[in-house]
Each structure stands twice: as C-alpha cells, then as structure tokens.
C-alpha cells in the first residue's frame, strides 16, 4: 500500500487523514483521501481536477510530473507527500 501524507499546514483548514492507498496512479491515491474528507479535495485540486498551481506532490522524494491527469505511478511502498509549494508563499 502506498502511503500518502498531507502537509500540516492544511490542518489549519480541514482534516488531513494519513492514508494507505491502493497501488496505482496518484489520482487514485488522492481520491482515497478525498473519500474520507471530501472538503480536502478543493484545497489540493482546482475545480478542473488539476493539481493547484501552488501545491506540489513528491513521490518517493521526486516531484510528480503529471499535474493535470495525475497519472504518476505509485509503487507498493511509495511514500507520497502533498506539500505547499514555496512559490505560493
């Protein structure tokens, strides 16, 4: 199971569950977290389902590549961190 962790900065606004998501694409892993807290989706993705311009996702230490379809592949032991990009600060 891939593990997805959200920045603590988001806890000021909404709950951020730590999720063990089924292996697959990044979008599916994020959706597993959004299923627990639907409000979280609007903080990470815009209304078109794209990664927000000033949110960044790291998968096993590497920045995700697909900010639109979120099709980056996760391994069984992937560690996913959803962070605020410094560009937005």
């Amino acid at each position: 199971m891939a593990r997805i962790v959200f920045t603590q900065q988001l806890r000021r606004f909404t709950e951020t569950p730590e999720v063990d998501a089924p292996v697959g694409r990044l979008r599916e892993a994020l959706q597993a977290a959004f299923d627990i807290n639907p409000r979280l989706q609007g903080y990470v993705l815009d209304e078109q389902g794209h990664l927000r311009a000033n949110v960044v996702v790291f998968i096993d230490g590497q920045r995700s590549q697909d900010r639109v379809a979120l099709n980056d592949v996760l391994r069984a032991d992937s560690q996913v961190h959803v962070l605020q990009a410094l560009s937005g600060g």
């Binding site: 900065q9 988001l10 606004f13 909404t14 409000r39 609007g42 903080y43 990470v44 815009d46 209304e47 078109q48 794209h50 927000r52 000033n54 949110v55 605020q84 990009a85 937005g88 600060g89």
Partner: protein
Amino acid sequence: MNESRRAWVATRKGLFELARKGTGWEVARVSFLAEPVSMVLPPTAGGRMLAALNLGHFGVKVHASDDAGATWHEVATPAYPPQPADATGVAWKLVQIWALESIGGTVWAGTLPGGLFRSADGGDSWQLVDSLWSRPERAEWFGGGYDVPGIHSIFAHPTRPGELLVGVSCGGVWGSRGGATQWELQARGMRAEFMPPERADDQNIQDPHAIACCAAHPESLWCQHHNGIFRSTDGSASWQELKAPLSSFGFAVAAHPSEPNTAWFVPAVKDERRVPVNAALVVNRTRDGGRSFESLRQGLPQQDCYDLVYRHGLAVDDSGTALLMGSTTGHLWASDDGGDHWDSTCAHLPPIYAVRFG
C-alpha cells in the same frame, strides 16, 4: 439616517471589524488573521455574512457567519463547470472573488477570471450565470491588474427587479434584464487609450476600475475608469467623461446614497505611476454632478505619502456623511463630515483590499 456603528476592513492578512469608539473607530475583532481576505459581505439583519479568502497555496474559499462575525464556518466555493476541450481563452478556474453583493435575497459573487455567480441560500451553494459567461464577447476580455479579467462591481436596480449591472476589468459595463438572463454592453461613451485608436471606443474592452451607484437615484452612476472619470445620468445607457483636479486617474469611487450629484474619488498620478500626486493624499469630491471638484486634504498626509487606495478601498455609509478609506500600505482613515476632515484610524494594518460599512 444615523451614521453606521460598524464597518469591515478586508486585508492581505485578515478581516478587521471596526466599531465606533467616541467620535472615531477602533478594531473590535480580527478574523482569519494572516489569511488574505479578498472581499467581505457585511451581515444581514439576521447576522449572516460572508468572507472570501484567497489562500496562497490552497485556493479560494468562502466562509460564512451567522452571528455577525463572531464565529465562522466554511461553505461552498463558487466553482466553474468542467472546461470543454475546445474552449479557448482563460482557464475555467476560480482565481479570486472580487465582489460580493446581497440583493433581494440573492447573493452575487463577481470573480476572476470573469464569471458571475449567484446564490439563493446565502452562500451555501453557487451557480455560474451562464448567460454572461457564454457571451461570445467574453473572448475579447482581458486582465486589468491581474492576468485574467474579473467582475468587481455589481448593482441591482432598487425598483426594477431583475435589472443588474456589472463592471468588468477589462470587459466594459454589462446590464441585464430578466433576472440576469439577457445581457447587453452599457459602456457607450467610455474610451480606452490603452488600445489601438480604432478600438478606443469599443465598449467590450473598457477598463472601469470601479463603479458606484446612488442608491436613491440609481440612474446616477459614477465610474473611476483606467482613462479617467465617467458619469452616467441615464442608468448606464451612456457615459460622459469628467475632468478632476490633480489627476483623473485612480481606482476608487464612492457615490452619495441620496444626493445624485455627489461622489468621491482618490486620485493617483497616472497609469504608470500609481502614487499620490506630489506625495500628498487627497480625496476629490464633487457635489454638482462633476462640473467641479474640491480636493479635500484636512487630516490626510501631505508629504512623503505613497499610499494607493485600491478599487474597493473607499466607502460611504447610508447617511452619506461617514467615509472610510484604506490604502494598499495599510493606512485607514475615517471622516464623519463627508470628507471635509479625516482622522487616521489605524496606520499599520495589512494592505487593505476593501472597506465596507454594515
């Protein structure tokens, strides 16, 4: 009409509630400290109010209060529908809420990148006004001060239900009949020096920085435009250009609630130099429909002043005598005599986006 006892200041780092203290104002409460609040809708008689946040990383959010700002909870954010694959132009993504108005039980939100939203439940849910968003002219709109166009001014006619007027930077002035189902451009007479000469009179690309309406005489409208000051006496059917002292450039305008010939403006040098003329802050007031202006200075800094008052940074209350003015460098001034005299209420607020009574 009594002077207002409460006012609101939306800033880069929070929402400040002001309360009367003696003859002046004091900060009574701070909400959303350190978060950008792009616009506030003052409370209804029942205490319902809205604040629009523009979180740096996590997008636009709307919070509601049912106790006049004592407590808040997040509600739905206006959202654009899925963007068709063949849609050109701006992305269908909410960038900022620039205007919030409550009119006859409907809440209206003007946004960047140019969508108008309506809510029938006090902001708990929103619907895009597709009749305006789908106008083919929208493809010609462009950003004024931002990368994308936006709606910053929204008015409803007080006695003709269904008539709405919105100002777009840069997309002119649009009027609707039939409850925002049909729209037409209403910027005839405005001019745009920032366009090629053959497009200067094009109504659809005008940049009305802000529009103000006399509540008791809604046919009287004032516009602080990118290229000067314009007035309409026929409900936006036509506009006439006025010349103000010092400079006709600026962002803010306030209209007297009952005197149709009275309005206030805050001049800046010009487009490419957005600072007070001679580093001295003034408010230009007309009381004769724009035939003449007084430059009001008492109580305002007259040297080394570089404060800019942005489009929602000037407000007059329902009495027509109390004014508030906030600058992008966080200075707030108040007047209780129609602008003849000003007092510094607070000199060290965050950059001020909007001031509102109520």
